[in-house]
């Protein structure tokens, strides 16, 4: 895959033919690995402290999971902002396709887990994330889309970049918090005006319901397949878009 060679740094023929070949000003490079290892010790230490100080809670678990997410996001330069912005701005859809793959894999896993709980007569986990379908969601998502491109990072991207040392994202994070408070303050109005009465639609319900009646297995499969189908269709479109050579139409 072309991607694999993208980030291998090298002192190859291009550099040799450039002004850099004479080995111009070389900053003395520090090796930061010792700092990284020290940080790792601190991370483990914090994990232990959280476990001991809050044995009944989830804080240690969430800390470790957060570390994992941060590590993965930074290592892969994963950027949801880029997945939405690049198709229009640069014509690239490689991140878009990766995001879609993440949706697909996670959908399958979540559905299996949810179905497992359901078929065992247990409450289905995570259903609070099946949010109301209302004008508020559309408006909010639109605002978020604008904000993340302007700020140079989405929610996860902002946190990642704070960890990478970007001062700009520190500012972005602060105002994200302020904006959240403002949003929370006005949430009551949105609730009364648009959200109340709006349906929370769980895809399997569109295919026959999850109320213990006969064809439930099919309803769940139907819901999952529908989700994957939408993802697949968007993936194909993204793939074709990304292969376009001529980009003149895009920027003017």
């Amino acid at each position: 895959m072309a991607e694999q060679t993208t980030t291998q740094t090298s002192t190859g023929s291009l550099r040799e033919r450039s002004s850099r070949a004479s080995g111009r000003k070389r900053k003395k490079r520090r090796n930061q690995i010792p700092l990284g290892i020290l940080l790792f010790v601190i991370i483990v230490g914090v994990g232990i402290w959280l476990t001991l100080s809050n044995p009944a809670g989830n804080t240690a678990l969430f800390w470790i999971i957060g570390i994992a997410f941060g590590f993965i996001l930074q290592r892969s330069r994963f950027c949801f902002t880029a997945s939405m912005r690049d198709p229009a701005l640069t014509g690239s859809t490689s991140v878009t396709k990766a995001v879609l793959i993440a949706f697909a894999i996670t959908s399958i896993a979540f559905t299996a887990i949810k179905f497992g709980a359901y078929s065992n007569g247990l409450a289905i986990p995570g259903q609070s994330y099946v949010a109301p379908v209302s004008v508020a969601t559309g408006v909010g998502a639109f605002m978020f889309g604008i904000g993340m491109v302007i700020a140079g990072g989405c929610a996860s991207g902002t946190l990642m970049r704070v960890g990478e040392g970007f001062w700009m994202q520190l500012i972005s994070l602060f105002f994200f918090v302020v904006g959240s408070l403002l949003g929370a303050a006005s949430f009551g109005w949105w609730e009364r005006t648009f959200i109340v009465g709006a349906p929370r639609i769980f895809l399997p319900e569109l295919f026959g319901g999850t109320d213990g009646v006969g064809n439930d297995g099919l309803a769940w499969i139907g819901g999952l397949v529908a989700n994957l189908l939408i993802i697949a269709i968007i993936y194909v479109i993204a793939h074709k878009w990304g292969n376009r050579k001529s980009k003149n139409e895009l920027e003017h």
């Binding site: 993208t6 490079r29 950027c79």
Partner: protein, 75 residues
């Protein structure tokens, strides 16, 4: 005579390095070399990826902690 042009994109937020690179490359002729300086981890991935997709020769060199130079030879 092949030109060598430097493009300093240090401190720029995503996706500014890539947009500036695209614009600058348009101004150059085939055979010219553009050296893009970035310190953004996204840019050290998406600039080479874009340039390679356009068919140019690309190399990256890490010149310091968190700083890269991207060599693009216009084809």
């Amino acid at each position: 005579m092949a030109k060598e042009v430097e493009l300093d994109c240090m401190g720029e937020a995503c996706p500014v390095p890539l947009i500036k690179t695209e614009k600058k490359l348009e101004e150059l002729d085939a055979g010219d070399m553009l050296i893009v300086q970035v310190d953004h981890s996204c840019a050290m991935k998406n600039v080479p990826e874009w340039a390679r997709k356009q068919g140019h020769n690309v190399e990256i060199e890490e010149v310091d902690d968190g700083e890269w130079e991207i060599f693009i030879e216009k084809v």
